[in-house]
Point group: C2
């Protein structure tokens, strides 16, 4: 089906996309729970089986976490003191069905699922059985409030099957039993947070209130569950008689309150007057807007076309929108990585929002501004007197990484966040944000680098170095002059000057308010110019760090599937002493700074690092895809892309049950936009180059630069750019600078 939307004055034609059981890897319940999870940035609902699923876990609230002391076999000063773990909250989907005589229907079989990516409605079919073997048919529809982000609705339709008698249906939020914290040996999994204090009551006969106070993090949330009209007042016991051979529909809604930071329960009972339909409408109109801004279609490959829609759907579901939360490594689809925010947000997910939905990008960056005080404190704990060091993994801004060689030592997160702020400004021109928040982030991270770095005189030249750091590649730790880190720090220094000029243009006195003097700017420029970038003259490539290239390569007989991922088979010390990379590292810098190197050098680097990279990280293949495209190797780009575009739909890493790989979802968008269409922004001018692989007939996507919404369509023959909305602008298509206005699309015929 094709729908027509009117948005911002333009009529848009969008095809429907539905994800069904045929489109996913397995029918394992915990996998399906993740893949069909719903979310709205505030909270997520895993698609638990409503009858036999786990009633005490299934709901995740962004930024709602418990802390616990981290226990170290051997501790040291400055170690992260507390874990932060997103809470697994009770399932809102659970339903109890019994016969009137009390025989329960306890088992169920999921026979069909349909996730409508245009509307956000999830529809499921179950055959439900009693212990006596009697069966009924159950259809479940659920939907998130989107502008009404505290709400979620569900409707259950019961129909007779082998059983056609009377039923009692009841629904409530389960109170979990006490349980211990459990840490997992697999660092990619989560620990289970301790169960919080839960209390439930019924402030009205049709309304369950469920109060949750964490025991140590000082947070609280109230959830409400109620039936929607016309069945009000019968939440706990509703009688349905299937004897009329009609389907009977029961609708419920839940309200998930905002997270209170001071352990207090909000006494105000929310309005609970949504019908399932009003929530559906809210969801659908929200998604229409999302798709209108960020639609990506791939002609000639239906499976991929569905996958990319799914990826963007989930990316949008995961992103915090309140300025106090970000995007967890698993979004709101699972509690893997404890619900922590990493650098992935800025480097892999934020670009999609910057270029399609800058309001959300701004909120995500606002979160980083909110935790700047914790980052300043962290810098002091690391013995650095000035500036701020962002936590490697965190929810509340404090460091929660319990293994510093692959955690805190990844100082590059500071420059990653600064990079994202700069890119946000370059794309949106939102100087207000820079003035209020962004410049302070960039200044404090630059101060950190200035204090953290060290001068080193080599052959009469003073170079500014960063020692004992870990780059993105976690298979190489505590090295000197990681190329990526140094290059990003250099950029961080440059951003101070760049944004200082923009601020001074608006208000010449503004800089003084930040305590920035002209001499400081000169010093940042000097530092930027002095940052050492390791280069191997033997190989004529940028060197990942001072010693990487001279280590032996990982033995090829340990590169076979039963040894992968290496981190689950080898001690870190074993991995560290080899020249082996978990993911794109130097190449990640090459992707970010295309002007840094010639095509010839890029090709050398690519070939070299490809030979030593295992791609054990889900952040790797998208970057390899982008660079292959840029190098004019679209087939290789396509292969890397296809390995990841459907990562969760094929359960590539075998751990989608723990949650979706959010960074990879963002990476798949990057591979299409920055890879196949060669998109990047340089001094505000978009560059597009057609690198479409032959497997795809056409790639069409929308992207926003400032106030201008573009639609780009690439085929083997042409590269076409249309201005859908906003002011005219200049752009460079396949090497030609063009002016784009509303009258004519830019169309370049490829050779």
């Amino acid at each position: 089906m094709t729908r027509l939307y009117l948005w911002g004055g333009i009529t848009l034609t969008l095809h429907d996309y539905h994800l069904t059981l045929n489109d996913v890897a397995t029918d394992k319940p915990e996998y399906l729970e993740t893949v069909f999870s719903l979310g709205n940035g505030h909270f997520g609902v895993r698609a638990n089986d409503p009858i036999s699923g786990n009633p005490i876990a299934g709901t995740l609230i962004n930024g709602f976490y418990e802390v616990a002391p981290i226990s170290y076999g051997e501790g040291a000063v400055g170690y992260a003191k507390q874990s932060q773990t997103i809470l697994n909250l009770p399932d809102l989907r659970h339903l109890t069905i019994t016969t009137v005589s009390g025989h329960p229907f306890t088992t169920s079989q999921r026979t069909a699922v349909n996730l409508d990516l245009r509307t956000g409605t999830l529809t499921e079919q179950y055959q439900v059985s009693s212990q006596q073997g009697e069966t009924i048919q159950l259809t479940v529809k659920s939907v998130m409030g989107q502008t009404q982000a505290n709400y979620w609705g569900i409707s259950y339709t019961l129909a007779a099957d082998s059983y056609n008698g009377a039923l009692v249906v009841s629904k409530s939020i389960a109170v979990p039993a006490e349980a211990e914290d459990i840490a997992s040996a697999d660092p990619r999994k989560t620990r289970m947070a301790g169960i919080p204090d839960c209390k439930t009551d019924f402030p009205a006969p049709d309304l369950q209130r469920y109060q949750i106070k964490t025991k140590r993090s000082g947070q609280a949330v109230t959830m409400y569950l109620g039936m929607t009209a016309p069945q009000r007042g019968t939440l706990l016991k509703y009688r349905v008689d299937l004897g009329d051979n009609q389907p009977h529909t029961l609708s419920y809604q839940a309200y998930v309150g905002n997270v209170s930071a001071n352990n207090t329960i909000d006494p105000i009972i929310p309005t609970m007057d949504h019908t399932f339909k009003t929530l559906e409408v809210d969801s659908q109109s929200y998604w229409e807007k999302v798709w209108a801004q960020s639609e990506v279609t791939v002609d000639g490959h239906a499976e991929l076309d569905l996958a990319i829609h799914y990826n963007l759907f989930q990316l949008n579901q995961a992103a915090g929108r309140d300025g106090r939360t970000a995007i967890a490594a698993k979004g709101l689809s699972g509690s893997g990585y404890e619900g922590h925010y990493f650098w992935d947000t800025e480097m892999y997910m934020l670009p999609y929002f910057i270029y399609t939905n800058p309001q959300i990008a701004r909120q995500l960056l606002l979160y980083r501004y909110q935790i700047l005080p914790q980052a300043k404190q962290r810098a002091r704990q690391l013995g650095v007197e000035h500036g701020a060091l962002y936590a490697w993994r965190t929810i509340n801004g404090e460091e929660a990484s319990a293994f510093f060689p692959a955690g805190t030592a990844q100082y590059h997160i500071d420059a990653d966040i600064a990079y994202a702020v700069g890119k946000y400004y370059e794309t949106t021109g939102d100087l207000d944000f820079i003035e209020q928040c962004g410049f302070e982030i960039i200044l404090e991270t630059a101060k950190f680098w200035a204090d953290f770095g060290a001068w080193h005189q080599v052959d009469g030249q003073q170079r500014f170095e960063f020692l004992t750091v870990t780059g993105p590649d976690e298979y190489t730790a505590l090295v000197n002059n990681n190329y990526y880190t140094n290059r990003m720090a250099k950029h961080n220094f440059e951003l101070v000057g760049y944004l200082a000029r923009k601020l001074a243009e608006r208000d010449p006195n503004r800089l003084a308010a930040y305590g920035v003097k002209p001499a400081d700017l000169a010093q940042y420029k000097h530092l930027a110019d002095s940052v050492y970038l390791p280069y191997s003259s033997d190989q004529q490539i940028n060197a990942q760090d001072d010693s990487f290239l001279s280590k032996p390569r990982w033995p090829s007989d340990r590169m076979t599937p039963e040894h992968m991922p290496l981190l689950l088979h080898y001690h870190p010390l074993t991995i560290y002493r080899y020249q082996v990379a978990k993911q794109a590292d130097t190449l990640l810098a090459d992707y970010l700074f295309p002007a840094d190197l010639t095509l010839a050098q890029l090709k050398r680097e690519y070939q070299y690092y490809e030979g030593v990279t295992t791609h054990d990280s889900s952040l790797s293949r998208s970057i390899f895809s982008i660079l292959a495209a840029r190098m004019g190797e679209p087939e290789k780009a396509y292969r890397y892309f296809m390995d990841t575009a459907r990562m969760d739909l094929v359960d590539l890493q075998k751990n989608t049950a723990d949650g979706l790989h959010l960074a990879n979802l963002g990476g798949s968008w990057l591979a299409l936009i920055a890879g196949f269409s060669g998109f990047y922004l340089k001094d505000g001018v978009p560059f597009i180059s057609n690198h479409l692989p032959k497997e795809l007939n056409q790639l069409t996507y929308r992207i926003r630069i400032g106030e201008s919404l573009l639609e780009v369509a690439l085929s083997a023959q042409t590269t076409k750019v249309q201005l859908l909305d906003g002011p005219m602008l200049q752009l460079n298509v396949n090497g030609q600078l063009q002016t784009l206005d509303h009258e004519t699309a830019v169309a370049v015929t490829d050779d």
Copy 2:
């Protein structure tokens, strides 16, 4: 008092040495408990106050430990799985005194202590008070069995003071309450082991049996406590009437059984017929022999003379003698560092035993042979297919270090153990041990290095490198080509050839039994010749590692006392990125291999590394002292020596309460022998050079080379060597090769 001993046909004159309260740093009970602790290699008894001290802890058995899972905030493959923690066992010294009407005497004041270093008898005076303020005088004498190493004896002499009525004295081993394991944030302290299962009964009316089974490590020990004749049968209740104004003496003995490895209790009740006197005689005759072999006296500095006797006394008390135990970092004087054995044993303590009491040295090396299977397994866990990797810290042979950057990464322990085996053979000529145990240790460690190292071609030359290692300096971690590590590994390779020749001389077919072929020997020689030793041509010194010299120096404003030791004030990441060393590292190799470098280079290296070393480790100053002496700077050598010779007697590190610094005790002997007297062994020939500092009138010591016992006496004027026992031998004194026989002492008059 001066005593005359007859030993091995020679009459020896030895002065008395007593350690009293005037000779120690403080009167804090936990400090005194450590300093006046008694031991015999099998078990140790801390000098708890017998009235008010802690009755549930005070006894430590060498190698008796509990295990517990190590919890990691973020775990990984191959991490040490279990902690091993020496058990704090109930105090054997505790005594309960009440009046006949039941008023207890609960407080006491230690008024005098006298530890006789010649006899091993500890005598203490207490004034003991009841809650009513009545006082009595208590004299406590205690002594360890030494050849009877399961026994310990104590006698209490009660005398009237303000109270002169009747008393009831009772004594038993306390059963501890359940308690949790506790980990400490200070890595130098111990965790508290969980309380084991304890059971007590009275197999005879005069005999308490106390059975201890660990809950997880599978060990068991039985202890017995009984009164000695003539008060038998009255252990729990003995009536003393002070009305006669005579002192009353009560004697007890304890038996501490051997550690059972299979959690079973030995049913045989030991003979308990020692009197306090027979144990005193056993102890005294043992110590006579120790002193006869290893007497060191320092004329002109009574304080130091006492200290060095104390150090050797404690070193002997700590050393396991059964071939299944070694010397814990704190000996048997406290449970710091969990009772673990480290490399300190081989590099700092073993030399004293090799040169004075080779039987004990052999037993200590035998322990390493016993745990070779665990070391082989550990190598596999670290991804190395051949050879053995000894655990960095262990009791049972398995790795117990929970922080690999400063634990498992210190691979040099392998070469340290191999070095000790080689030095043991070179000194004793004990080829039997090499054949049965030693060669296998050296072969397996060499195999490890061969597999672990990596070839690296630089300027057309193939060099053999060791990457991502940590050297002795724990303030620099995970670096490439640590000089000390590489130099020791080279020596490890060389030892294979050296000992293979010795074995082949005895039996040409012997090598084949180890699976060693001539080609293997050629390969080890090739590896030894190819090991890369980093050298800075700028500084003309050996470089601590590939990057150490190019890091910035630790800021001088953070070098003041409130910042020290750095490890308690800074995150490891902060420390690692500076050029700062916790202890002698490259200089330790220089000390071990004097022929490696010229005096000029040694002086440059010394000056350089002295400038970047904090001496935060107790293993540092003794090495700086030795090298200063060797460089002809006896005054500097003296200062370093004096900073450590009395380390525990002045409580220099403020943590002697946790136990004595055993490595430093050994280091103080090394500083005298290898430093002030410049002693070293080269191809079996002892070299002696007089570097006596002017603060000492004369240094006299005994040392054993093969079967020959020498006495060396150094003064400002002369260097005199006498053959006390054994065959004549050649030696080099102050650069002159001399023959030493029984007729004439070698006496060289210094210029």
